[in-house]
């Protein structure tokens, strides 16, 4: 896995080229012919979409002494122009859209910082941040026997940018992002891929999402490297999520999900990391304004 993973930067470049070629092969003009009204798949152009989830949940923090991230109030917003879109903290430009395939250029924040800083912006969108509660690993006092002085990691906010291919094949939704640090912090690469598969559709929808995040060694080390002690390699983090959504009265809908993500060895082997996985559960209701 690691050997394969370390060759992937080349795969990233090939993938980027393939996606860009594919986007040029489809119609230059976006095709929205099948979007004539609001639906699960379609959204009005030029309008803000705002919702908030209220409930109870938690995302575990894999760091040593890392505090779990509560999921209580989760605001979500998006805006779609003809090409440009904002999707929470993601920005994007739709290059081409044809039938079931959409090709975007996106910018999205680097994710792992959420484990180190409770006040990270992304925690606003997955939970209820408490800036006074640092998530960084605990420190021991100077002079502790056996302790090696190590400067604690302080990752900055990073943004990754790159092409994105999303598609729909029957009821299955797919997403593939090929990303690179665009903020000059670590020059790391990241690949995010996922499939959304509806399992049950009656009044409510039950679905399973299967996916992964691949992080290059540069990305992994930006967050999890410990000087002198540890330098990580690329990591492949698969995840599975089971979710259920049920429309309620008015603009409310019930939502529950459970997600399990296994951390790749490059991350899990870091002395900063205590758990080899991250679990997320949430039970609540979403109100759409």
């Amino acid at each position: 896995m690691r050997a394969d993973a370390q060759r992937t930067p080349c795969a990233v470049r090939v993938g980027v080229a393939a996606i860009l070629c594919a986007s040029g092969a489809v119609h230059a003009n976006g095709s929205d012919d099948d979007c004539n009204g609001p639906s699960d798949d379609c959204v009005a152009i030029g309008r803000w979409n705002v919702s908030v989830a209220l409930g109870a949940g938690v995302r575990t923090n894999p760091l040593i002494s890392g505090k779990d991230i509560p999921l209580v109030v989760i605001p979500q917003f998006s805006y779609y122009g003809r090409r440009f879109f904002i999707d929470n903290l993601d920005f994007g430009l739709t290059l081409a859209e044809h039938g079931a395939n959409t090709f975007n250029l996106i910018a999205t924040p680097g994710y792992d910082r959420v484990y180190f800083f409770r006040a990270d912006l992304q925690n606003f969108f997955i939970g209820f941040p408490d800036a006074s509660a640092p998530l960084r690993p605990a420190q021991v006092t100077a002079g502790t026997p056996g302790a090696i002085p190590v400067r604690p990691p302080a990752p900055r906010i990073t943004y990754l940018a790159g092409p994105e291919w999303t598609f729909k094949y029957g009821p299955v939704t797919g997403q593939l992002d090929l990303l690179r640090d665009a903020t000059g912090q670590n020059s790391g690469d990241e690949i995010r891929g996922a499939l959304g598969i509806p399992l049950l559709k009656s009044r409510g929808v039950m679905s399973v999402n299967l996916g992964f995040t691949w992080k290059s060694a540069a990305t992994v080390n930006y967050y999890y490297r410990v000087p002198i002690l540890y330098a990580g390699s690329a990591a492949f983090d698969p995840f599975i999520k089971l979710g259920y959504t049920l429309p309620l009265a008015g603009k409310w809908r019930f939502n529950a999900f459970a997600e399990f993500e296994r951390l790749g060895n490059g991350i899990a082997d870091s002395p900063l990391v205590a758990e080899r996985s991250v679990a997320t559960v949430f039970l609540g209701a979403i109100y759409t304004f």
Partner: protein
């Protein structure tokens, strides 16, 4: 509802002096609506507004104001040269206001209160199984 129409006739002000022009045709009766257009934004399902209807004729007329498809709305005048009527309406499609003779057999004139929906265009949402709620 007919009783309401009669009651309305009794409450009308005295008729104005009739025009001397005997050659005027029913087509010379003018009906004006305010507002003439109702614009629905994306979030509005229907118009809810007070509509003012004013009519004027070159001579005394006996007629009734009706709205096509709204049998509950009927306002009649007997030997009047002009009249006005205000009503709060809730509607989502064009409303056709007609002035008819008192037997409601002949349409003397009509006006349309148009409903215009703001043109909303749609596009595909970003499909993102990687996201927390997708």
């Amino acid at each position: 509802m007919a009783a309401a129409g009669v009651l309305l006739c009794l409450s009308l002000p005295p008729p104005l002096r009739a025009s001397a022009a005997s050659g005027d045709e029913p087509g010379d009766i003018r009906l004006e609506l305010s507002p003439r257009i109702c614009t629905l934004t994306g979030k509005d399902a229907q118009c809810d507004t007070v509509v003012h209807a004013n009519w004027r004729a070159p001579r005394n007329e006996s007629l009734c104001l009706v709205i096509v498809g709204r049998p509950e709305v009927k306002r009649c005048w007997e030997q009047y040269v002009e009249g006005s009527y205000s009503i709060e309406l809730v509607f989502s499609t064009d409303l056709v206001f007609q002035l008819r003779d008192v037997d409601l057999q002949q349409v003397l004139t009509s006006e349309v209160l148009r409903v215009i929906r703001e043109a909303i265009r749609y596009r595909h949402k970003r499909r993102e199984p990687w996201n927390i709620f997708d």
